[in-house]
């Protein structure tokens, strides 16, 4: 095997240095959320973890993540015991910051390892491309913005996802891959969005015979089933035993929240909201009924029920139905052709469907699409064509997460660096497709990328100069609508490629 440079380890060193330099950067309330979890898991008995509500940031991740926080808190006692007190709300001593930031940075090594394994298990012919993809994920601006500035622990979770995907490549390790994904679900339930693809793939490729779908491979099925049961048992068993399952689930799935997150994730509902805003001005002329109560809500972007002034409201059931519908389409194809690449494609489409149509989607969930899609982006030029607008839209849509002046250059320069570097490298590496490309999609992606430049300039500079503090929802609305167009466009593009190849 020819060595590829820079190696993943070398890149990890550089990016770790950058992450450490980012320690004093802006941190969102998620920092306090995680500190509070450290405190809860450290100082309270397991029985009341999911009942504790001194802080408004209650524990709303599955039990394995709570156990993970408990592990971290063991080390935290040596750094600054004051961060482990539940009543120390908003506690952020320099030691606490260093400790929490350092844990994210160290946990990220799991992702580096996962990507290393991914490159190693790639077939020799596509090794170079896999290597480029791996480096692009390792350097992902989305992960840098979300994990190392905003503050979350996505890096190592995606590391587990990638390891699980790597395991699913080979028959011999398929069981481990499935169990790893079950573990991942017990760490962060957002991965439920990807679960349907896993279910179908494991069912077809692992539990059913290759020759006939009617013949069940009992050994495999029992092993997988009992393994998954054991994992979920370890995670949720204690709470089930104490009769707390309802409480835990109500924490994990807060359906009381609104359709759109405080800042609209770039999905179909963002476009729906946008249309509603526009119709608001047109409605009086067209004599459409306007719901007066709804007028003041969406503009403020408060967390809560979003209601629409002109267009009909969207009930959760509808979003659920749409998500399932679009997931089913790709799952059928996966069931018929259970190859690894089809599986990753279906995974991406499941991510897309839930991101685009889901209820109360966070903008951060775009990682669920970007990372699986990255693994396929270099399959051929048609895939790359669909990937480009996603790469731009997905990252630009994260910009509103950081609004402080000091972090503005970091997020923009780093993202532009990443886009320039990897769009060029990918363009260089992607092989020519055997099938004809769709002309419209290609032109769309070029046009789309070009628009991003004036848009970013407007949203970050011109708007404030012209309007000052007023109408601050406009740049957010533009960013999210623009990004929504990109995500939707790339979804259509990818679906075309997926279903025609």
């Amino acid at each position: 095997m020819a060595h590829l440079y820079p190696s993943i380890a070398q890149t990890a060193v550089i990016v770790t240095a950058l992450k450490v330099l980012l320690f004093p950067a802006y941190k969102s309330t998620d920092f306090e959320v995680h500190r509070n979890w450290l405190a809860i898991t450290h100082s309270l008995p397991v029985k009341i973890w999911y009942y504790e509500e001194t802080s408004e940031w209650t524990l709303d991740y599955p039990p394995f993540f709570a156990y993970f926080e408990w592990l971290l808190s063991q080390a935290a006692t040596y750094v600054d015991p004051a961060m482990l007190k539940v009543e120390n709300l908003k506690y952020d001593s320099w030691q606490t910051i260093c400790f929490q930031r350092a844990t994210v940075t160290v946990a990220d090594l799991a992702l580096a390892y996962a990507l290393y394994k991914y490159v190693q298990t790639s077939p020799a012919s596509s090794q170079k491309a896999s290597h480029a993809v791996a480096i692009s994920i390792l350097l992902s601006p989305a992960l840098l913005i979300i994990d190392h500035i905003h503050f979350q622990y996505n890096g190592f979770l995606y590391g587990i996802l990638v390891v699980s995907l790597v395991c699913l490549r080979k028959k011999s390790t398929m069981l481990i891959g499935g169990l790893l994904f079950a573990t991942l679900l017990c760490l962060k339930h957002i991965y439920l969005y990807l679960a349907p693809a896993y279910f179908v793939y494991l069912l077809r490729a692992h539990c059913l015979s290759q020759e006939s779908i009617l013949r069940i491979r009992v050994g495999n099925s029992v092993k997988l089933g009992s393994g998954i049961l054991a994992i979920f048992g370890t995670a949720f068993g204690p709470f089930w035993y104490w009769g707390q399952i309802d409480q835990v689930l109500s924490r994990l799935f807060p359906f009381s929240r609104g359709l759109c997150h405080s800042y609209w994730a770039p999905n179909v509902w963002a476009m729906y909201s946008f249309t509603d805003r526009v119709l608001l001005y047109v409605a009086p002329k067209m004599r459409l009924p306007v719901d007066q109560n709804a007028l003041n809500r969406v503009t403020r972007g408060l967390v809560g029920d979003s209601s629409f002034a002109v267009l009909p409201n969207i009930p959760p059931k509808m979003t659920f139905a749409l998500t399932v519908l679009f997931q089913m389409l790709c799952l059928v194809k996966l069931f018929l052709q259970p190859t690894w690449e089809q599986f990753v494609g279906a995974l991406t489409l499941c991510g897309y469907a839930s991101f685009l149509f889901g209820w109360h989607v966070h903008e951060k969930a775009i990682l669920l699409v970007i990372i699986p899609f990255s693994l396929l982006a270099l399959k051929d030029r048609r895939f790359l064509g669909a990937f480009r607008p996603l790469a731009v839209a997905g990252h630009v849509s994260l910009f509103p997460l950081l609004f402080t002046a000091a972090e503005f250059p970091v997020k923009t320069v780093y993202t532009i660096f990443w886009l320039v570097l990897f769009l060029l490298v990918f363009d260089h590496l992607a092989p020519v497709s055997s099938q004809a490309r769709v002309f419209v999609l290609d032109r769309f992606s070029l046009l789309y990328i070009t628009i991003s430049i004036p848009l970013i300039i407007y949203c970050s500079l011109i708007h404030e100069l012209v309007f000052g503090e007023t109408y601050e929802f406009i740049p957010l609305m533009f960013t999210s609508s623009y990004s929504a167009v990109g995500v939707l466009g790339s979804w259509i593009g990818f679906s075309v490629v997926y279903f025609t190849s």
Partner: protein
């Protein structure tokens, strides 16, 4: 001859255009078993994908974005004097200058409340401060409000100040570095790819980033102007070189460290091989004109202010006339224009060169501080110390200046600058620890020349830079910049394949092939070990009772020894590369032959020609220097 011949043999020969950029190069190691090549150190690996056909228009913007990111992230950390009233630190000094230049009439700049960070940098800094203050006041006038803004600490102001450092650097230092490294590459036959690697190595140099973007200063503007001047010299534009160098001097007087060598070079260019009177006069005139132009706004502004009835604040506040002006005061009329002009000029010069201060201020790794630890120097009168230090400085820069004026060759220029700047740093008085950025500059630029990334040069330049950052550690600790210090210096060491991250330069195949001497290798490793042990001591061991400064003193002593060795190495390399030794040896051989012929003529030994006069004093040092070559 063989001993002397090897070290300056160009290791990186010009390659044919058809060859891939890596053949016959030390930065790409060939494995004898496989046909594949591998990068010699991690930085090469990062630019590995760009080695074949990648356009500079792609590599360069990416490099600039990344080095900019590291600078900006460095800026997220603390700065000097953060939350330390009443005087704060360099950050407040720079901000205060923006405040006074923004609000006061120009004639008052160098007079206003000198006890609170009175302006003591040359006019170009003042103009720069004025501009920055003016723009900043548009954003938020309270940042630079006269007097009331003293000691102001606001996150947004910090962002603005950090941004001005970066913007200033991207206007001066960075383009200058790019142009100079490209020019060196063209002159010395270095490929574009290697040049890009050298560029990253130069731009990621830890000491500069730590001081400018961490501690807070605008050194890179001055350094950038020096580099611009150098690149004009390399492209045979001595006139422009003068202009840029005068600008550098007028931005920060510390550029004087380079002045003797640059003067010697320009003199040499005018005198050798044939006398160019026109060029000489041109250079002299342009130098004067540049000074005049730069001081003109200050002087004319003063005149204008006097005309409007704004007198320099001598009459109002403390009636001290600066000693320089006191000398000329009796001879001029107080109402004449000359009075205003000379008062302004003398005050500026007086502020810029604080002759009255001591030999050294803080602990700095130079000769005086090192001697002071063994033998207390403050018992001697200051004038004597000043004279001794002046003499020592002259002696230390003499070899470099002699050689560069006798052999005004472009390939020697950087070496001469490095040697003379090290001389200044080690021997002159009133040196700050931050001043080591100056000698480090030409030394680091050597990366861009031929063989600059080869094992030996990389080892030496790397050592100097690691040592340079290390001697800044006590200063950075005061600014709470330990973490970025470790991150940036270790990152650079990692990129360049230096200890403590990598021992390949000293142990293993690469080291054996390089032909570096065992003595050099052990010397380097000793210094690295000393630095590492010192860090452990400083971090985990309390200083003994009654000696709170012990670690600091040890830092100074090791730093002085290391810098001294760097000085000797640069000087020795300059001598070797100039060919003086060859000429002298050839002359000796000739003489020996003659002596053999006529034994009785032995008494008539004549000193060798002009060109070799520089050698005898260096010969004494060559014994020491040889083992390092």
């Amino acid at each position: 001859m063989t001993v002397l011949g090897t070290p300056h043999k160009p290791r990186k020969k010009r390659r044919e255009a058809s060859q891939p950029a890596t053949s016959g190069n030390e930065i790409a190691l060939s494995d004898s078993k496989a046909a594949a090549q591998s990068p010699a150190f991690p930085l090469v690996a990062f630019l590995w994908p760009a080695r074949k056909h990648t356009s500079q228009w792609v590599t360069l913007p990416l490099v600039l974005m990344i080095v900019g990111l590291f600078r900006w992230c460095m800026g997220l950390w603390g700065y000097s004097g953060f939350q330390t009233p009443p005087m704060h630190g360099d950050y407040e000094a720079q901000r205060h200058w923006m405040e006074i230049t923004r609000h006061l009439p120009i004639s008052q700049w160098y007079f206003y409340d000198l006890d609170y960070w009175g302006l003591d940098y040359p006019p170009l800094t003042a103009y720069h401060s004025w501009l920055v203050g003016k723009i900043g006041s548009l954003i938020n006038p309270s940042w630079f409000a006269l007097d009331s803004s003293r000691g102001i600490e606001q996150p947004l102001l910090k962002v603005y100040m950090r941004a001005t450092v970066i913007v200033s650097e991207y206007i001066t230092y960075i383009p200058a570095t790019i142009i100079l490294s490209r020019r060196l590459a063209r002159l010395r036959g270095v490929s574009k790819w290697e040049s890009s690697i050298a560029l990253v190595a130069i731009l990621m140099q830890p000491a500069t980033i730590l001081i400018d973007h961490g501690h807070f200063q605008y050194n890179t503007v001055m350094l950038g102007l020096v580099l611009a001047s150098l690149s004009c010299m390399l492209s045979d534009h001595p006139i422009w070189a003068c202009t840029f160098f005068v600008a550098a001097l007028c931005y920060k007087q510390m550029a004087l460290y380079f002045a003797p060598a640059i003067f010697a070079y320009l003199l040499g260019v005018c005198l050798l091989p044939t006398l160019h009177v026109g060029r000489f006069v041109g250079i002299a005139l342009i130098t004067l004109l540049s000074f005049a132009l730069i001081f003109a706004p200050l002087e004319l502004g003063a005149l204008y202010d006097t005309h409007n009835g704004i007198s320099p604040p001598l009459s109002t506040s403390n009636r001290q006339v600066n000693p320089l002006f006191a000398l000329i005061l009796p001879y001029i009329d107080e109402r004449s224009m000359l009075y205003t002009l000379l008062l302004q000029l003398s005050q500026t010069v007086h502020r810029i060169f604080p002759f009255a201060r001591g030999l050294f201020e803080d602990k700095v790794a130079n000769m005086w501080c090192a001697i002071h630890t063994i033998h207390k120097l403050h018992t001697y009168p200051i004038p004597l110390l000043q004279r001794v230090s002046l003499f020592a400085t002259m002696m230390s820069i003499l070899p470099a200046c002699m050689i560069i004026s006798l052999f005004p060759r472009k390939d020697l220029l950087l070496w001469a600058l490095a040697s003379s700047a090290w001389g200044f740093f080690l021997c002159s008085f009133q040196v700050h620890e931050k001043s080591n950025l100056l000698p480090l500059l030409p030394m680091t630029i050597l990366f861009a020349g031929d063989g600059g990334l080869g094992v030996e040069m990389r080892a030496w330049i790397g050592l100097a830079n690691m040592l340079g950052a290390w001697t800044l550690f006590p200063l950075l600790t005061r600014d709470e910049l330990r973490v970025p210090y470790y991150v940036l210096s270790l990152l650079w060491a990692y990129l360049m394949g230096l200890p403590p991250t990598n021992l390949d330069l000293y142990i293993g195949k690469q080291a054996i092939k390089s032909g570096m001497r065992l003595s050099t290798q052990s010397l380097h490793l000793t210094i690295y070990t000393a630095m590492a042990v010192w860090h452990l001591l400083e971090a985990f061991v309390e200083t003994p009772k009654g000696k709170p400064d012990l670690w600091l003193v040890i830092n100074v002593l090791i730093g002085f020894a290391g810098f001294g060795i760097c000085y000797l190495w640069c000087t020795w390399q300059l001598i070797l590369r100039s060919g003086v030794m060859d000429q002298w040896l050839a002359f000796r051989a000739q003489m020996d032959a003659k002596v053999k012929g006529k034994r009785d003529e032995k008494e008539q030994f004549l000193p060798p020609g002009k060109g070799t006069r520089a050698t005898p004093p260096r010969e004494a040092k060559s014994g020491k220097g040889q083992k390092k070559s």
